[in-house]
């Protein structure tokens, strides 16, 4: 009986630990800590043999340093790519190279075509056999767990941890995928467009100095603090994040939410805030400014992130951005 009871406990602990571990590695949805910035190398590839017969001799060879510090070299465009990361899916789609994606994971939500290709991984596992059977010439992952398994199976793996809090990394990644797929022209266009859209918003807000205090509830009063992509978005939109004194995602004390009195609350479930009597005197609730995220565009740091920022800007500043 002792043992069985302990087993029960152990299962609980296991689930908790697993969930916890997963939380920290599923950075594209929940960037917890500042991460090492990924250095994308496109210089000093002279030691790699040039593929002179290639049409792409101005692009290849191309080398990327992955999050382990290992150099991954490309001598021709990757034709069949298994992409296990939402931001990368978005990026490849945006540069018109979607046909190269042969499989993805269960949580691919965008583009709509993602539902039509095979799913070879979920939150905890990867179906190695299915991946090998597809015979891809590149597997892209954002966490390290299965990298060595994939490499042992003879596959080429590019492992890049998810973005930290810097929007410039998004444009770097667009360019990187442009090189890997051999479509550098389109990628440079897209990356310029991304920068433009972001700086347009910045420009339109340059005369706004009313710093609205904002609180985002991603569920159960968990909220992004400093060193998160969301905090970067808030700064860009001239919002004053009430959780900016903490780093990463934390569960915020309700007493402090009332005390800091946000003017705007972005909630997963606006009902959970507006029907809660403890928040009835908070400005955001009194002035009916408890909103839902307009879409899931801000959940991945791909090119669609610019759209997410625009959508949010329209909801928060209808007088500046119009509301069509």
């Amino acid at each position: 009986m002792d043992k069985q009871n302990k087993d029960k406990l152990r299962i609980y602990i296991m689930i908790s630990i697993l969930s916890f571990l997963f939380m920290t590695c599923s950075g594209n949805l929940s960037t917890n800590e500042p991460r090492n910035t990924n250095k994308i190398l496109d210089t000093d590839t002279s030691n790699v043999m040039p593929d002179s017969s290639s049409l792409y001799s101005d692009i290849f060879p191309y080398a990327v340093m992955d999050s382990r510090g290992k150099i991954i070299t490309f001598t021709k465009p990757a034709e069949k790519i298994v992409v296990l990361d939402n931001a990368a899916l978005d990026t490849i789609y945006s540069i018109g190279e979607w046909h190269r994606v042969v499989a993805t994971h269960d949580f691919a939500s965008y583009p709509p075509q993602a539902s039509e290709i095979p799913k070879v991984a979920d939150a905890f596992n990867m179906n190695l056999e299915a991946i090998i059977e597809l015979d891809p010439d590149l597997v892209f992952v954002f966490y390290e767990t299965f990298v060595s398994d994939l490499e042992d199976a003879g596959l080429k793996v590019l492992y890049l941890e998810s973005l930290g809090n810097d929007l410039e990394e998004t444009t770097e990644l667009i360019t990187m995928w442009g090189r890997i797929t051999g479509n550098i022209d389109r990628a440079e266009k897209e990356s310029l467009l991304f920068d433009e859209r972001v700086s347009t918003i910045q420009g339109m807000l340059s005369n706004t100095d009313s710093e609205l205090k904002v609180f985002q509830d991603v569920g159960d009063l968990w909220t992004p603090g400093q060193n998160t992509l969301m905090n970067t978005v808030f700064e860009l939109l001239k919002l004053d994040n009430i959780a900016k004194d903490v780093s990463g995602y934390v569960q915020m004390s309700p007493e402090l939410i009332v005390d800091r009195n946000p003017d705007l609350i972005i909630a997963l479930n606006p009902n959970s805030i507006t029907t809660n009597s403890i928040f009835k005197d908070v400005n955001a609730v009194k002035n009916k400014r408890v909103i839902k995220m307009p879409s899931d565009a801000l959940s991945n740091a791909g090119p669609r992130f610019a759209l997410g920022i625009e959508e949010l800007a329209k909801v928060i500043y209808p007088q500046i951005f119009g509301n069509e």
Binding site: Y12, Q251, P254, N276
Partner: protein, 357 residues
């Protein structure tokens, strides 16, 4: 026999035949002190004088000009005190249910979650939090309802699995509970794995906490707690008899089967009610009754009320730590109960010469 294997630690000059009301009184006073402390300290610093003024102003016939920030009133009356109230009720209930199960099953590892209540509630909560089932239905949060139904459902399945024509063999009930627990835990894990990878809400619910505590939660669980806790309290003497073994108890004229049913229903109902609003706070229902037994002896007439009072004080104190230690971050209270409770329990085991059941 079972009960004789405890070392009685009753010290001092008190007459052992009289009921130790004084100890209960002192413990109750300590609990009230902890509750007041917990109401006075929080993430937002409010001066004790202002707290006193706010409280006084709420009394009838007292008029004080509200010269304090009105948010302080919300923080104190709508967040902090409801939270202290809920943590007292939850802690007390988990501890007395744990004590009841330990007495009933005569098993030192028994806690209120022994026969499936926790994994059942966990499954209910996971379904609501991690699938497309809406958390709010017509403005009502269905999470507590799902947890409550899950807990009652799992225990009922275990109960009816174990029950046979001769009655209810407790060892079979525990095994059935373990089987149901494995099944529901596997289901929860499956749902979690197939769900959106942001599992923080589920995780923080599984660890337990009072971050959403409101007055109405305390009020909603009272109708479940009052009758069930009274039933458990009045069965102290019969639980003492049960320590001799079911057959002996039967020979002494105790209707064993009725008591088992009544106590299992009481402990399950009260546990399901508190778990619905607090999540799965571990450890309390296990170590508080043991600690009481180690310090004050084996009489269930005393263990039951003392566990309730100590459990309330312990959980309130743990929640105070959970919400203030890393300001402005909330920790799940389950982490604190285990982190602070385990060393204390190890100390008791080591120095109170505990002999296992």
């Amino acid at each position: 026999m079972m009960s004789l294997s405890y070392q009685s630690n009753t010290e001092g000059n008190e007459d052992k035949l009289t009921y130790p009301w004084r100890k209960l009184g002192v413990a109750f006073a300590v609990m009230i002190f902890i509750a007041l402390l917990a109401a006075g300290v929080g993430a937002v610093n409010i001066h004790p004088l202002i707290i006193l003024k706010i409280l006084m102003s709420k009394l009838p016939f007292v008029h004080i000009d509200p010269n304090w920030q009105h948010t302080y009133e919300t923080i104190l009356l709508q967040i902090r005190i409801p939270r202290v109230s809920l943590s007292c009720l939850v802690g007390g209930t988990l501890a007395i249910s744990g004590a009841t199960y330990q007495g009933l099953f005569r098993n030192p590892l028994a806690d209120p979650y022994l026969i499936g209540a926790a994994p059942g509630a966990g499954l209910g909560a996971t379904i609501v939090l991690a699938t497309s089932v809406p958390t709010f239905f017509q403005g009502i949060n269905i999470l507590p309802l799902a947890a409550f139904v899950g807990a009652i459902g799992a225990v009922s399945i275990a109960y009816f699995t174990a029950r046979n024509s001769d009655g209810l063999p407790l060892a079979t009930l525990i095994l059935a509970g373990v089987a149901i627990a494995s099944l529901t835990t596997a289901l929860s894990a499956f749902i979690l794995i197939r769900s959106d990878p942001d599992v923080r809400p589920v995780l923080s619910w599984l660890m337990g906490g009072f971050i959403h505590a409101q007055w109405k939660h305390s009020i909603m669980i009272l109708p479940y707690l009052i009758p069930t806790v009274i039933v458990m309290l009045v069965h102290g003497r019969l639980l003492n008899v049960m320590q001799l073994g079911e057959d002996h108890a039967r020979q002494l004229g105790v209707s064993v089967e009725n008591i088992k049913l009544l106590l299992i229903i009481s402990a399950t109902l009260s546990t399901a009610a508190v778990v619905a609003f607090s999540g799965l706070i571990g450890f309390v229902g296990l170590i508080v009754p043991h600690s009481v037994r180690l310090v004050w002896g084996v009489d269930y007439r005393f263990i039951l009320p003392m566990s309730a009072i100590s459990g309330a004080a312990f959980v309130t104190l743990a929640d105070l730590v959970a919400r203030t230690i890393i300001n402005p971050i909330e920790l799940p209270v389950g982490i604190v109960t285990a982190f602070c409770g385990a060393p204390f329990f190890v100390y008791l085991l080591r120095y109170r010469r505990y002999v296992a059941m």
